[in-house]
Each structure stands twice: as structure tokens, then as C-alpha cells.
């Protein structure tokens, strides 16, 4: 769940989100290294009295700064593709839940056995009880079993919406007339 003054991602609740967190750490480290290198070089350039006005031969350094970025890009692309394929693995869900977007509430349908459906409206800020989460509390929460692969089918009854749960690493657009599937697996109980 989000907390005040949060800077980074929420704690991961699904294995895919854990992978994404590590990938983000890895890529951000590369970004910081490159940025600090560039910043350092700029500061060196700005604080020197040396000049060199004739044409220079720069074959070697040009080769390095072509090959090295290519290697860095590969080092970013490989884990990225690994996670992409991991998200696409075939899994057999044990439960299907449909999230239908309306203006402006969600309705959830559990129809594997009986037809269970309900609306989920946000609690307005003026009606929140102390300790409740602003803009996040709802009157009827979606309750899902943990440690089970769940198929979420997201769609809309009117305009475009999007259904997201940050700690599970999920965001799926709700498009009228289209049924978008995403898979969910929570490793621990809690409110997300």
C-alpha cells in the first residue's frame, strides 16, 4: 500500500513484481553510473585552462564509446526480455474474476460457479473514518485468495478505464467491447 512521502515502488506482492523491482534497481544503477560519468566529464571540461585547437585523431576513443553503449544496452535488454517472457508463461488459473469499469466505479464478477457480482465505489474523502486511505478505500473490496493463480479479465461498460494494482505489478486497460486478460498471483495476504 502507498505511504506518505513514498519515493520508490511499493513492496512486491507477486513474483513478477519482485523481478521488476530488481530489474529497475539494475537499470537505474546503470543510469546513475552513466549520468555521474557524464556530469563528471562536463565538470572537467568546464574547469580546465588547457586548450587544444588542432584536429585530433580519435579512432580509439570513438570505438570504445560505440562498443560500450552497445554492451550496456544488451545488459539492459537481456533481463528485460527475460521478464517479458516470464510474464507470458502459460499458467492455468484456478479462478477467473472480471473487473468491469463504469463511470465512476468498478464492478466485479465471480462467475465460475454461481453468479456473484457487486459494485465497488470509492469512499468520498468527506466520509472517511480516521485511519482510512484517502482515494483508495472502497465500500466493497475485491477479495481474492492468495497463492493462487487468478485470471483477471478487465473490460469496460462505457469509456476507457484502467485497472491497476501497483504492488502486484498490474495495470490493464479496460476497453469497452474488449476483454483483456492479466494473471495475478499474490504471495502474501494483505490490502493492496
Amino acid at each position: 500500500m502507498a505511504y506518505p512521502m513514498q519515493l520508490g515502488f511499493q513492496d512486491a506482492t507477486s513474483p513478477i513484481m519482485e523481478e521488476l523491482l530488481h530489474f529497475h534497481d539494475h537499470t537505474l544503477m546503470i543510469v546513475f553510473l552513466i549520468s555521474s560519468l557524464v556530469l563528471y566529464i562536463i565538470s572537467l571540461m568546464l574547469t580546465t585552462k588547457l586548450t587544444h585547437t588542432s584536429t585530433m585523431d580519435a579512432q580509439e576513443v570513438e570505438t570504445i564509446w560505440t562498443i560500450l553503449p552497445a554492451i550496456i544496452l544488451i545488459l539492459i535488454a537481456l533481463p528485460s526480455l527475460r521478464i517479458l517472457y516470464m510474464m507470458d508463461e502459460i499458467n492455468n488459473p484456478s479462478l477467473t474474476v472480471k473487473a468491469m469499469g463504469h463511470q465512476w466505479y468498478w464492478s466485479y464478477e465471480y462467475t465460475d460457479y454461481e453468479d456473484l457480482s457487486f459494485d465497488s465505489y470509492m469512499i468520498p474523502t468527506s466520509e472517511l473514518k480516521p485511519g482510512e486511505l484517502r482515494l483508495l478505500e472502497v465500500d466493497n473490496r475485491v477479495v481474492l485468495p492468495m497463492e493462487m493463480t487468478i485470471r483477471m479479465l478487465v473490460s469496460s461498460e462505457d469509456v476507457l478505464h484502467s485497472w491497476a494494482v501497483p504492488s502486484l505489478g498490474l495495470k490493464t486497460d479496460a476497453i469497452p467491447g474488449r476483454l483483456n486478460q492479466t494473471t495475478l498471483m499474490s504471495t502474501r495476504p494483505g490490502l493492496y
Binding site: P15, E18, P79, L81, M86, M100, T111, T149, L179, T187
Partner: protein, 146 residues
């Protein structure tokens, strides 16, 4: 049972798992390590009976249709619709159920064999879509061929 995933931390520095990255799918490091129905659940959660391969929601061995329907949990993976857009999956199963039902009643056969399609379309299709389609079938304006 603990969460069995390794915590690589900063994997590249120095790298271990990065160099093991594999491009094609079906990597050994499967996300779906948690087999439904076999896990240990915290108190107060529902545990589904995990008595056979059918508990995975799909039959991995040759099972007759009645057992499959009896052990039905949810619509299994359908390789005809492997991607994110499952609209056609819902539509196809709705059509298949009604075609099966029409054919069986026409021939005087047992409609219970169509039950599989009914369960699948009920799992997948939004309730509002189903009721719209049912109304259109009743009016004779349903666009699908049944």
C-alpha cells in the same frame, strides 16, 4: 512454506542471473512455481481439494468430459486464444454452447454434453454481454451464426 524465490539483490553487480538470461519462452525459472491447490494456506483461506491433475483447472491427461465438468474450477488455458485479448474466447464459447444446445435438442440428444461450453462462457463473459446477447437471440437480431 516460504516464498521460495531467490532474492538476487543487485544481480549484475557482480552478475549471476543476468548471464543466464534466456530469450525463448519456457525458461526454467518459472514464475508459476506455486501450483494451485497444493500450497499451504494461511488460516482462514479457502483450500481447494488437490486430488488430481484436474485440480489445475485443466485436464492434462485424457479424461472424459463428465469428470472434467465435475472438477471444473475455471476456464483453462485455450491455445486458440493465447494472448491478452480474450474477447474471441468468450464469444466462441458462447456460440459453441448455443450451437451445441440447438444441435442436441434438434437431434433429441443429451444437452448435458454442452455443459463444458456453458461453464467456460459463464467464467469468461461479462454478465452484461451475456444478457445482451440472450436478449438479441430472443429477438432474432443476434449477429452470430447459431
Amino acid at each position: 512454506m516460504g516464498v521460495a524465490r531467490t532474492a538476487p539483490g543487485t544481480a549484475l553487480w557482480p552478475c549471476g542471473r543476468l548471464l543466464c538470461a534466456r530469450l525463448p519462452p519456457a525458461s526454467g525459472r518459472s514464475f508459476f512455481r506455486f501450483r494451485p491447490g497444493t500450497g499451504v494456506f494461511a488460516e482462514g483461506h479457502i483450500e481447494l481439494p488437490a486430488t488430481s491433475g484436474a485440480s489445475l483447472g485443466v485436464s492434462t491427461m485424457a479424461e472424459d468430459i463428465q469428470t472434467k465438468i465435475k472438477n471444473y474450477q475455471t476456464a483453462p488455458f485455450d491455445s486458440r486464444f493465447p494472448n491478452q485479448n480474450q474477447t474471441r474466447n468468450c464469444w466462441q464459447n458462447y456460440l459453441d454452447f448455443h450451437r451445441c444446445e440447438k444441435a442436441m435438442t434438434a437431434k433429441g440428444g443429451d444437452v448435458s454434453v454442452c455443459e463444458w461450453y456453458r461453464r467456460v462462457y459463464k467464467s469468461l463473459c461479462p454478465i452484461s454481454w451475456v444478457s445482451t446477447w440472450d436478449d438479441r437471440r430472443a429477438e432474432g437480431t443476434f449477429p452470430g451464426k447459431i
